[in-house]
Amino acid sequence: MIPEAMLEFNNVSLTYNGEAAPTIDNLSFSIKRGEFVCLIGPSGCGKSTIFRLVNKLLKPQCGEIYADGQSIGDHKNYCGYMPQNDLLFPWRTVADNVRLPLEIKGGLSKSEMDERVNEVLKNVGLESWGQKSPSELSGGMRQRAAFARTLLTGCDLLLLDEPFSALDYLTRLSLREWLLDQWERDKKTILFITHDVDEAVFLSNRVLVAEHYPIDSLTSVDIPAAYPRSLRSLSEPGIADIKERLIGMLRKENA
């Protein structure tokens, strides 16, 4: 076990029921506390399977997964998951949606919950939108609300599954910058799935590439650009080279 790892896969394998070939084959990798790591790979390569293993919606046939130094088998509340669709419940107001993880965990009084909800809504820039219904929010605002809900799981490890993929281009650009601000302020560890190389390079310290199917290893590529980043950092020569290399790796897989 790696001591400073926030998330660690140790020889994990998973074969879906009724399938001959494994989807995840003897995979090991780790993510350090406080890192922002993007996981990229072609569609259908099993990226989301990795998430489902981390949040225990799937159980690996062999291998161990550790979160914050503990095997996840008997660990609760170690990761907050943000799905691709915001999945805000339409019968709840925005504030009540964000409150959901607190309600489920229990142990807080109503006023304590209200306080936490208001604080996190303020942090994501939705303080005056709490009493609205989710349908009154724009796509970008809905994703911010979903992120706020993920924050209130109280976990240091956040799993974000292509959260911006359904948004229009400009909203996506501004939400990327917004997400980095959130990450720098909250000092969370983020694992972010995307198939957008630009997005991965812009956001992360490090990119993990799923090059092979089944996934038996993830190739780690460091992104040596300082934060805070702007759109211009993407066109610096060193970064542009890395982008090309990443695209090359994904192409090879597709060919």
Binding site: F89, W91, E103, I104, K105
Partner: protein
């Protein structure tokens, strides 16, 4: 409200046209014991207003209320337990379907022998006809809850009870209202059939008595009252639904 009136205008025009055709045909035939005209029916309704509204409508509504209440409880109960366990679903679902192949109308005279002329034989007919749409619609509602939403709840650490109370129950509410709106007319028909076959009061019973007296308008008048009652009840439920569920289109 104005929009509503506009939306209903085509239906109102069509209804009016049909009534005029009916009126003309009935006047032409001039045999009120077979085909009373709409005007004769309304006149009859007015003449008989005291017994109809004071004795027979309350009697029928009592059967409808009791039958509908039992059907809702039974339907919800079956839907919930089928949703909780696949084994229960496999055991119950085919039986629920099979229960609908029973020709309730043909068996109803037997129910009168079993339960007498009181309210319970009619309630049984009503329940047999009404619990089915409630069970199936609400069960469909449970099945329609998005897997992703259930999984999201699981990642938050929710147990089965929390998933039921915070996700499934609110998600099924629109289906529940659809079920009730379907169930109201069916339960009224069920009650009327029950009364038609053996009762001492009720609109179905009254209609049948008029039949034996060859009073065509008297047969139709209580039936007109039944359909008005159904429409009023469905409208009331619709108002509640609008108040409670503003998010139906968002799911």
């Amino acid at each position: 409200m104005k929009n509503n009136a506009k939306a209903n205008l085509p239906a109102a025009i069509l209804l009016f046209a049909l009534l005029i055709i009916w009126q003309a045909a009935a006047m032409h035939m001039n045999a009120a014991y077979i085909l009373p005209s709409p005007i004769q029916i309304v006149q009859k309704l007015w003449e008989l207003r005291v017994p109809l509204f004071k004795a027979h409508l309350p009697a029928t509504m009592e059967v409808v209320t009791v039958g509908l209440a039992i059907s809702i409880v039974l339907g919800l109960f079956l839907a919930v337990i089928m949703d909780m366990s696949e084994t229960v679903e496999k055991a119950i679902y085919p039986l629920v379907i099979a229960s609908q192949t029973i020709p309730t109308t043909a068996l109803a005279p037997l129910f009168v022998l079993w339960f007498g002329y009181g309210i319970w034989s009619k309630v049984l007919v009503t329940v047999l006809m009404t619990f089915f749409p409630i069970t199936i619609t609400v069960f469909d509602g449970f099945k329609s809850v998005k897997t992703e939403m259930t999984e999201l709840m699981q990642t938050f650490g929710a147990d089965k009870k929390q998933i039921f109370l915070k996700l499934k129950l609110p998600a099924v509410l629109p289906y529940f209202f659809s079920a009730i709106k379907m169930a109201i007319p069916i339960s009224i028909i069920g009650a009327a059939i029950g009364e038609w076959l053996g009762a001492q009061s009720g609109l179905g019973y009254f209609s049948r008595r008029m039949m034996t007296q060859l009073d065509g308008a008297g047969v139709f008048a209580p039936i007109l009252l039944l359909s008005i009652a159904a429409m009023v009840l469905v409208a009331i439920v619709g108002i509640f639904e609008k108040k409670l569920i503003r998010w139906r289109k968002d799911l």
